[in-house]
C-alpha cells in the first residue's frame, strides 16, 4: 500500500479545495478517548492522526506499508509518525504512556487543521503476531457533538500467525512479549501455522490459542486472550 502519497493532480486539487473551503472551514478542537474494550489484550502505544481525505495509514484489501508492518509486528509507531509528519498531519502519540491495558481508556486533545478532515488511529494488539486495532480515514463531522466509533482488529498480512513467543522486529517470526504479558502467556508451543497466505490487510480471524500453558500449538491462552470484534471504542467530541 502506498500510504500518505500525493500525486501532482490531487495536490493541485487540494490547493483548490483549500482555497474554496477556507472561507467556511476552520480548525477543529477534538477531545478523544480510546477504550480498550477487551479483558485480555494489550494495545501498544496508540497513534492518532487527522490528515487529508486522500491519505490512509492502512486500507483493508491493500498491502501493508513497511511503516504499518513495523507497527503491527512490533508496536513501533516512529515510521508511521514520520510519514504523517511529512504529510502535514496533526498527530497524537502514545496517550496511555505505554501499553493500554485491558478495559482501560486513554484521553487526549487534538486540534486539526482545516485541510485535515479525516481521522485515523492504530495500535498493535498483544498477544498477536501482526494484529492491530485500526480506524481508517474516518471523516470528522463538522457539527459539534460527541460521536462514538467501534473499531475492529485487523491482521497486517505480513507475518504468519504462529502464536509463539518471539520477535517484534519486522520480518522476524513470533510475538513480542513485553513484561506485563510475560506471565500471562504459555510457552513451548509448537506453532499454529508457518503460512501467511493472505498478504493483504484483512480483518483478523482471531487467535486460536490453547489451554496448555507449557505445551500445545499456541502460547496464547484461549480462554483469556481471544477476542470478538469490536475490540476498541473511540469517543470523539467535536467542540
Amino acid at each position: 500500500m502506498k500510504v500518505i502519497k500525493k500525486s501532482p493532480i490531487t495536490s493541485t486539487l487540494s490547493v483548490l479545495a483549500l482555497a474554496l473551503a477556507s472561507s467556511t472551514t476552520m480548525a477543529q478542537e477534538l477531545s478523544i478517548t480510546v477504550t480498550n474494550l477487551t479483558q485480555g489484550l494489550y494495545f501498544t502505544p496508540v497513534i492518532t492522526a487527522a490528515h487529508t481525505s486522500e491519505n490512509h495509514i492502512f486500507m483493508a484489501g491493500e498491502m501493508a506499508s513497511d511503516e504499518l508492518q513495523a507497527m503491527a509486528e512490533g508496536g513501533s509507531i516512529s515510521g508511521l509518525s514520520s510519514i504523517l509528519t511529512n504529510a502535514d498531519a496533526n498527530i497524537n502519540e502514545n496517550p496511555a504512556g505505554g501499553l493500554l491495558a485491558p478495559a482501560m481508556s486513554a484521553s487526549f486533545d487534538l486540534t486539526n487543521d482545516s485541510t485535515n478532515t479525516h481521522l485515523s488511529l492504530t495500535a498493535m494488539v498483544l498477544p498477536s503476531n501482526d494484529g492491530f486495532v485500526g480506524l481508517d480515514s474516518w471523516k470528522i463531522p463538522e457539527e459539534a457533538g460527541t460521536y462514538t466509533v467501534f473499531l475492529n482488529a485487523y491482521d497486517a498480512g505480513t507475518e504468519a500467525n504462529d502464536e509463539l513467543r518471539g520477535s517484534g522486529a519486522p520480518g522476524e517470526a513470533g510475538m513480542p512479549v513485553p513484561p506485563p504479558l510475560d506471565p500471562l502467556l504459555g510457552m513451548n508451543g509448537t506453532g499454529v501455522t508457518d503460512m501467511e497466505s493472505n498478504d493483504k490487510v484483512h480483518i483478523h480471524r482471531g487467535s486460536l490459542g490453547d489451554s496448555d500453558m507449557s505445551a500445545g500449538t499456541s502460547d496464547i491462552n484461549n480462554s483469556v486472550q481471544r477476542w470478538l470484534n469490536p475490540v476498541a471504542k473511540l469517543t470523539i467530541t467535536v467542540k
Binding site: T35, N36, L37, T38, Q39, G40, P102, A103, M104, S105, L208, G209, D210, S211, N222, S223, V224, Q225, R226, W227, L228, N229, P230, V231, K233
Partner: protein, 243 residues
C-alpha cells in the same frame, strides 16, 4: 411499511375535523369560565410509556429474564470499572432481583421468563416521573460463566410518541468469574451449575466478552460445545414510546 404509512395518513385526515370540534368546545367552555372565579387549570401528570422488544440473535444461548430500568443520568456498568454485586448476580446467575431493586431506579420491569434463541420478548414500562429518561436493559447469556448483554444510561428523552429506536447489542463480561466453562459453574441448560458465587477470580473489570471456547475448540475441560459459541451482536433491542 407502505401500508402503515397510508393508514397513518388516513387516520390523520379523519382526526382533523374531530380536533377542530374539540377546540371549539374548549373555546366555548373557556368563555363560560370567565364569569367564575379564576382557578388555575390542574396540571395533569404525564405518563411516559415504552414498549421494548428484545430478540435473541444467538444460536444456543438462552437469555435470562431481561431487566428493564428507567433512571436519571447514570450508568449501571462501565468498561474498566468493577461490576456491582447486583450486576454480578445478574451476569453470573441470570437473577435480576437485586439489579431491579437498585436504589437509583425510578421505574422497573422484567421479562416474565428466559428468551430462547430465535425468539423475542416484549416488556412494557411506564412512569409518571419526568426525570426517568435514561434506559438500562440487561440480560445474561446463561450458557456462560458471566456474559451479559444490554445497554445502560441511554438518554431516551428525545423519543417522541410512537417513535422507535433500535440497537444491536454486543456481549459484555462482568469480569467477576473466570471463563473456565467448567462443569458446575454455568447456570444454563448446558450445565445446570451454580450461578452467582461471591468470589471474584477474574480481572474484576467489566469489558467485552472474548467469546466461549468450548470443548470442541480447544478447551477440554469445558462443558460447552461448538453450539454455544456466539458472536457480536447477540441481541436486537427496539424501543417504542407508546405514551
Amino acid at each position: 411499511m407502505l401500508t402503515f404509512n397510508t393508514q397513518k395518513k388516513s387516520t390523520k385526515k379523519l382526526a382533523k375535523p374531530l380536533l377542530i370540534a374539540g377546540l371549539l368546545t374548549l373555546g366555548l367552555s373557556a368563555c363560560n369560565d370567565n364569569d367564575n372565579a379564576e382557578t388555575p387549570p390542574e396540571e395533569v401528570p404525564t405518563e411516559y410509556s415504552y414498549s421494548l422488544t428484545l430478540t435473541n440473535l444467538t444460536y444456543a444461548q438462552p437469555l435470562s429474564p431481561a431487566a428493564v430500568l428507567l433512571h436519571g443520568d447514570a450508568k449501571m456498568w462501565q468498561v474498566g470499572q468493577a461490576a456491582s454485586v447486583a450486576l454480578e448476580k445478574l451476569a453470573e446467575g441470570g437473577d435480576n432481583t437485586d439489579f431491579i431493586a437498585l436504589e437509583n431506579n425510578l421505574a422497573t420491569a422484567t421479562a416474565e421468563g428466559p428468551t430462547l434463541p430465535g425468539t423475542s420478548v416484549t416488556v412494557n414500562i411506564s412512569t409518571m416521573d419526568p426525570t426517568a429518561t435514561y434506559l438500562t436493559v440487561a440480560t445474561m447469556l446463561v450458557n456462560t460463566n458471566d456474559a451479559f448483554s444490554g445497554l445502560t444510561g441511554v438518554d431516551i428523552s428525545t423519543l417522541t410518541l410512537n417513535q422507535e429506536k433500535s440497537w444491536r447489542l454486543n456481549v459484555y463480561d462482568s469480569g467477576t468469574e473466570q471463563n473456565n466453562e467448567a462443569a458446575g459453574t454455568i447456570p444454563g441448560p448446558a450445565d445446570g451449575g451454580v450461578g452467582y458465587d461471591s468470589t471474584r477470580n477474574d480481572i474484576d473489570l467489566v469489558g467485552y466478552h472474548s467469546g466461549v471456547v468450548s470443548k470442541d475448540d480447544g478447551l477440554p475441560s469445558s462443558v460447552l460445545t461448538q453450539a454455544h459459541r456466539f458472536d457480536n451482536p447477540a441481541v436486537k433491542l427496539t424501543i417504542t414510546r407508546t405514551k
